[in-house]
């Protein structure tokens, strides 16, 4: 049989590196909030004539919009992000650009006030927190007949935090390099990843529950290992089918739900990893009181012993 749990020091190191990268990225770069979270206006304009992004930028700065951010979309339109525009300012802006660059049409206009933005931030944080607590409670309940039901819930949540830290860390890096902003679709994606990753973890835990009951092996570690082997092909297959559809979304629907699809793409991969190698490994670590092994320096010593 494949020995997965025996290699847990390797998995723990990989996960610690992943979390470290995520945290460093978050601390160094931070997340770039979109207008839903920071307020402002986003105007998508299409010009009939060819317009250079640099010229557009110069014109907007001349009009007094110093902090404007411009992005070109795949279809040749421009996203123009400014501070919150009033109806009159927006009309003036479009008129001035029309005079300078010729006929234009407004594809999309999106404006969020600071009051709405603040509400959205606080409610999104509450939603992620409530989701974590709800899942912890449910798993503790579902595994209530096991010797240590709380262990299962906590290990599942740690695996989840692991996934969320990596996804947000990658978005912090994308924000710093490519100017990607996080928006509500990002939060929706994070919650979907939470649901997805926990789903995978539960399937593994479910098998551990069953194998413990059947008494396949007296040693807890061996039970976990055989449960992992049993569920390995299922975990990989489900992740593959979900990856197919997420890739289709990413490639064909494009910009508007790009954030969501990319969060899902990273989340499915790291979520599958954490369900197979982080959550079950932590169960064993906790069961055996091997917490010292989480510190790499001491690991060599224990292994030799």
């Amino acid at each position: 049989m494949l020995d997965i749990t025996g290699k847990r020091p390797v998995f723990l190191i990989i996960s610690e590196i992943i979390i470290l990268i995520g945290i460093i990225a978050l601390v160094v770069f931070g997340l770039k909030p979109g207008i839903e979270f920071s307020s402002g206006s986003l105007l998508t304009l299409g010009f009939e004539q060819e317009v250079e992004q640099s010229e557009l930028k110069v014109e907007l700065v001349n009009l007094g919009y110093d902090n404007v951010i411009i992005q070109r979309t795949g279809a040749g339109d421009f996203f123009i992000r400014t501070q919150e525009l009033t109806a009159a300012e927006r009309l003036d802006l479009e008129e001035a650009l029309g005079v300078r660059f010729g006929a234009l049409s407004e594809r999309e206009f999106y404006s969020v006030s600071s009051m709405v933005a603040a509400e959205t931030v606080s409610n999104a944080i509450i939603a992620v927190a409530v989701a974590a607590v709800g899942i912890l409670l449910y798993i503790t309940w579902a595994f209530r007949r096991m010797p240590k039901p709380f262990h299962y819930g906590v290990c599942a949540i740690i695996a989840l935090v692991h996934d969320v830290v990596l996804v947000t860390g990658i978005f912090a890096i994308l924000g710093a390099i490519m100017g990607w902003e996080i928006n509500l679709m990002f939060i929706t994606g994070v919650l979907a990843v939470i649901g997805y990753s926990i789903n995978n973890t539960v399937v593994v835990f479910d098998r551990i529950r069953e194998n413990l009951r059947r008494g396949v092996h007296p040693d807890f570690e061996m039970v976990v290992n055989s449960s992992l082997v049993d569920t390995l092909s299922r975990s990989l297959n489900t992740s593959l089918t979900t990856l197919f559809v997420v890739l289709a979304l990413l490639l064909f629907v494009g910009a508007s739900i790009q954030n969501f699809a990319l969060v899902m793409l990273i989340g499915i991969i790291v979520g599958t990893y954490s369900s197979l190698f982080v959550a079950p490994t932590l169960l064993i670590v906790w069961e055996r009181g091997e917490w010292g092994n989480l510190i790499p320096l001491r690991r060599t010593k224990t292994e030799e012993a």
């Binding site: 839903e36 998508t44 109806a87 049409s105 407004e106 594809r107 999309e108 206009f109 969020v112 006030s113 009051m115 709405v116 509400e119 959205t120 409610n123 509450i126 939603a127 409530v130 989701a131 709800g134 899942i135 449910y138 579902a142 509500l184 679709m185 939060i187 929706t188 919650l191 979907a192 939470i194 649901g195 997805y196 926990i198 789903n199 539960v202 399937v203 479910d206 529950r209 069953e210 569920t231 299922r234 297959n237 489900t238 593959l240 089918t241 979900t242 990856l243 197919f244 559809v245 997420v246 289709a248 979304l249 490639l251 064909f252 629907v253 494009g254 508007s256 739900i257 969501f260 899902m264």
Partner: protein
């Protein structure tokens, strides 16, 4: 056993046929999927009412009046299926699907304004027209408007039981009204909102005839209860204007929305085909049956969306496409179990039953966690202003999870049972199953 399976199969086919009919024909007055603003284009605005000038305790009345005014103005535009509703106690949501000329609609909303009283006269070119009814007070020309009401107007019944709208002018209003009505005895006085006359049930301007000179108080009769109630509400809204500040706005051109639909259709189709190919190659016959169950799933889900109706947004379609990938999860769980059972030497029939029974706990627990997340997302959606993407995603994923549990478990099992006891069941390669060699 076999007979019961046939009945279940019959029910499944009936549900599928019903779902397909729902999608193809306009059943129950639902001709089209209901599309969100991001897919059909339109304006979504949220206004915060400013109650600074409103007497405490009458905020509810003030905001209802403001909504009545907005409804009036939007009706003039002829927008199909506009949505105007109150959110919390002090916000108004306005959704105008399919409206491209953003400014035209928005200029009509803004602040609640005064209602004007107009008399018959001639315009600049000498044509008959309604012109503002004015009076000269202390040497200044002043127009009679709803801003001069002393208290809110109200609807009551006269001594003969007829519907009456009662009003009372303040001091300045009494002077203007006295002069205007004294001059217009036996002539009509129409009521205008934003330059348009208010229309009665008969689509004609509401224009009561002045019977006598009115100074401090008066009444209007001859209105239906509906007309009187609405008029009173509009007059009250125009008495103390409630400034409405836009706090959120999203405008999407209808062309952009149509592109989204095409793109997500392609994404969905490609996703489904990839998932089916994978299932068939990996699990063979059971995989093919799971693909049939997936078609069933897609048709039933879309039919449910159409019947409820669920408003489809781009994020909702994202949830739908994602749920396709997850819908086969229950099947994957079951088939892996079946393989294991088969390997221990069970017959196909026994392996199917054991596979389904043993996979159930894992399916239940993993789906419940997804449902928890969906419910929290629905709460998040209901608590924030820009709710459409979050709610759209959560609702479609939630319905998807529920329908997929049915399709993956009941439909696939029923189809698989059809093969039990047939010669095909002995061809193990069809099930990609191997006996364990001991």
């Amino acid at each position: 056993m076999v007979r019961r399976n046939t009945i279940v199969l019959f029910i499944i086919v009936a549900i599928f046929a019903f779902a397909v009919c729902t999608l193809v024909y306009p059943l129950f007055d639902r001709e089209e999927m209901r599309l969100g603003l991001d897919l059909q284009g339109g304006i979504h605005m949220v206004y915060q009412a400013d109650f600074t000038d409103v007497e405490p305790g009458t905020e509810d009345e003030a905001i209802d009046g403001a909504i009545a005014v907005i409804e009036r103005r939007i009706n003039i535009l002829g927008v199909t299926e506009p949505l105007i509703q109150k959110q919390g106690g002090d916000r108004i949501i306005v959704e105008l699907p399919g409206v491209g000329e953003a400014e035209k609609a928005k200029n009509l909303i803004g602040e609640t304004t005064l209602l004007e009283f107009r008399e018959q006269g001639v315009d600049e070119e000498g044509n008959p027209a309604w012109v503002p009814a004015t009076a000269t007070i202390d040497g200044k020309e002043k127009a009679l408007t709803s801003g001069y009401f002393k208290e809110n107007t109200y609807v009551g019944q006269g001594s003969l039981g007829q519907i009456m709208l009662y009003f009372e002018w303040n001091e300045e209003g009494s002077q203007i009204s006295g002069e205007v009505t004294g001059r217009l005895i036996d002539q009509p006085l129409a009521i205008f909102l934003s330059g348009e006359p208010l229309l009665g049930d008969d689509e004609q301007p509401i224009a009561p005839i002045v019977r006598s000179q009115i100074t401090d108080r008066g009444q209007i009769d001859g209105l239906s209860l509906g007309e009187a109630t609405e008029l009173s509400q509009l007059l009250n809204a125009g008495r103390i204007p409630v400034p409405l500040n836009p706090i959120y706005e999203q405008t999407i051109s209808p062309i952009l929305g149509a592109d989204f639909i095409d793109m997500s259709l392609i994404a969905g189709l490609i996703g489904v085909i990839l998932v089916m190919l994978f299932m068939i190659v990996y699990y063979r016959l059971p995989g093919a049956l799971a693909s049939l169950a997936l078609i069933f799933y897609g048709a039933v889900l879309l039919a449910v969306f159409k019947l409820i109706p669920v408003t489809l947004t781009l994020a909702g379609i994202g949830g739908f496409v994602l749920s396709i990938g997850m819908a086969v999860d229950a099947n994957v769980l079951i088939f892996e179990r079946m393989k294991e059972e088969f390997a221990t030497g069970r017959t196909l029939g026994a392996a199917i039953e054991a596979g389904f029974n043993r996979a159930w706990m894992a399916i239940r627990d993993s789906n419940v966690t997804t449902i928890i997340v969906c419910l929290i997302l629905i709460w998040l959606g209901s608590s924030i202003v820009e709710s459409a993407p979050v709610t759209g995603f959560a609702v479609t994923l939630l319905i998807g999870v529920l329908v997929s549990m049915f399709s993956a478990i009941i439909v696939t099992r029923t189809l698989l049972r059809l093969f039990v006891g047939t010669p095909l069941a002995k061809k193990t390669w069809l099930f990609s199953a191997h006996r364990e060699k001991k």
